[in-house]
Amino acid sequence: MAWFRKEKKPRQPRRERLEIPADVWEKCEACGHTDIREKFERNLNVCPECDYHRRIRATEYVNLLLDDGQYEELDPELRSVDPLTFPEYPQRLARATQNAGEADAIMTVTGTLGAMPLFLGVMDFAFMGGSMGSVVGEKISRMGQRSLERKYPVVLVSASGGARMQEGVLSLMQMAKTSAVLSQLAERRIPYISVLTNPTTGGVSASFAMLGDAIIAEPGAVVGFAGPRVIKQTIGQDLPEGFQTAEFLMEKGMLDAVVHRRDLKRTIGQLLRHMSGQPAAAGWTSP
């Protein structure tokens, strides 16, 4: 079964590429490498030169991870409200919805990964910095309840600056809520894989993101409780090179593997098969 093989778009002939207009060029934020956008995109928005993993949207992860990009979105009708009548919150929500869509900071879906049915939640940093408010907590909670009914494993891809301040202590409580859901899954031996992308900090890292049966992270992703700026301010000195990167966390024993974006689907599939007593996928060999 060759579900993991990407369908390649037909390459453009070389001579046509010479007439590319300026706006299709992209520059890598990390190394400054400039290339045509299509080349970045074909490389899953990883810099072809330095492997810097650029931030991608929730829908892009869904397409990357689920078979044939086929999925059913769960609870798309959930919307954030303004429970505290917090200054400017409705305006910020309106702007975020306009810029990033109506899924709030997480998109939850069901589909198959390597023919295995599962529930997948992907946070979207584009929506208010991926902040966790009541909607994020409720979507994860409902996905968890469905998982308990159908016994499908759960995968959560995190990208978040933390709790959504504008929902005050209610956003704090989403940490407890999502952790309570995961304790239910654990009790029923339903596998849960946490995927950390850049950045995963604050209330998200201090709840469901660090509770996976396997925790994997994209290369270079910043992961921590406090953000680098806060720590720098607290201790009054610069942070060591590479502090709080995925590689640093793995060295410190905080996660299982650092996985390149192109290997995410394969790795998640492999882990889920091990944890749900299924045979190895056909055509897979150990690297």
Binding site: E77, L78, L84, F86, G202, S207, A209, K252
Partner: protein, 322 residues
């Protein structure tokens, strides 16, 4: 007497108190009876305390919650419990003095106590890191919770922290994981859990001791997702001026009354007039009674029902539209 820790809005109380003290001293010296003069003054003092504390602004509440003369965890241990023996260490890295815990008795029955501990002076604050725990503090707390579960003893936690420590060592040793693990484990602990916010409940570092069957909050305690200074700095680029701090304190809805209305806490424990720092004995007695009453109710549930109810409570939290 007015000390350095007298809060600005408490000055009228202190002034009146001084006046009464002066009068008493003078009367004693000159062997006069001044009962008739003093009685109305003391009545006014009592009224003034009630009046001032009834109208505290959210920022003033923060100042009271952080007051260094407020009862801390070990003060409650001393005043509301007996037979305490402190247990130390996470069995992996070190003993974090920002969290204290151990066996104690509430009305004669064994309970496990776990709480953040602030210091009263600079030296103690350095040792206890101003009540800001490292991961090993949260892991010690979890060890004690599991110990309590093993012997079917209820867990009582006391929350009093500006937040979990944000530093190099804390990050290296997995501050996030330590907090997350406590949230998960507390949601399935097979014994009654009561958490009380006694001072400042700061964000995830507070919640890591706060997943409970009953969450109580002292009348002048605050509980927030972010410090008011942090909120003001992010939103208005000014975390220092009183005006912006006041704005953040109001916007975040952090008082006991706010949290009760938001259904995040279950009960507000009254403080004596003038706040908990004005009378430790009375405050501790009030909390002791509240803990005894709640514990008696929780003891009626079998472990699986207790856990189911606790989880359901947290699954209901949040507000959204659909």
């Amino acid at each position: 007497m007015a000390t350095a820790t007298t809060l600005e809005f408490e000055k009228p109380i202190v002034e009146l108190q001084n006046q009464i003290d002066e009068l008493k001293k003078m009367a004693e010296k000159q062997q006069l009876t001044v009962g008739d003069e003093i009685a109305p003054l003391e009545k006014r003092l009592a009224d003034l305390r009630v009046e001032i504390y009834r109208n505290l602004s959210p920022l003033q509440r923060v100042l009271v919650a952080r007051h260094k003369d407020r009862p801390f965890t070990l003060d409650y241990v001393r005043l509301s419990f007996t037979d305490f023996i402190e247990l130390h260490g996470d069995r992996a890295f070190r003993d974090d003095a920002a969290i204290v815990g151990g066996w104690a008795r509430l009305d004669g029955e064994t309970v496990m106590i776990i709480g953040q501990q602030r210091g009263r002076d600079t030296k103690e604050n350095l040792r206890r890191n101003f009540g800001m725990p490292h991961p090993e503090g949260y892991r010690k707390a979890l060890r004690l919770m599991k110990l309590a579960e093993k012997f079917q003893v209820p867990v009582l936690t006391f929350i009093d922290t500006p937040g979990a420590w944000a530093g190099l060592g804390a990050e290296e040793r997995g501050q996030s994981e330590a907090i997350a693990r406590n949230l998960l484990e507390m949601s399935q602990l097979q014994v009654p859990v009561i958490a009380t916010v006694i001072g400042e409940g700061g964000s995830g570092g507070a919640l890591a001791l706060g997943v409970a069957d009953r969450v109580l909050m002292m009348e002048n305690a605050v509980y927030s997702v972010i410090t008011i200074e942090g909120c003001a700095a992010i939103l208005w680029k000014d975390g220092k001026s009183p005006a912006m701090k006041e704005r953040a304190a109001s916007a975040l809805r952090i008082t006991a009354q706010d949290l009760y209305e938001l259904r995040v806490i279950d009960e507000i424990v009254p403080e004596p007039p003038g706040g908990a720092h004005a009378n430790h004995d009375e405050t501790a007695h009030g909390l002791q009674q509240a803990l005894m009453r709640n514990l008696e109710e929780l003891r009626k549930y079998k472990p699986d029902k207790l856990v189911r109810r606790r989880r359901e409570k947290y699954l209901r939290m949040g507000q959204y539209a659909e």
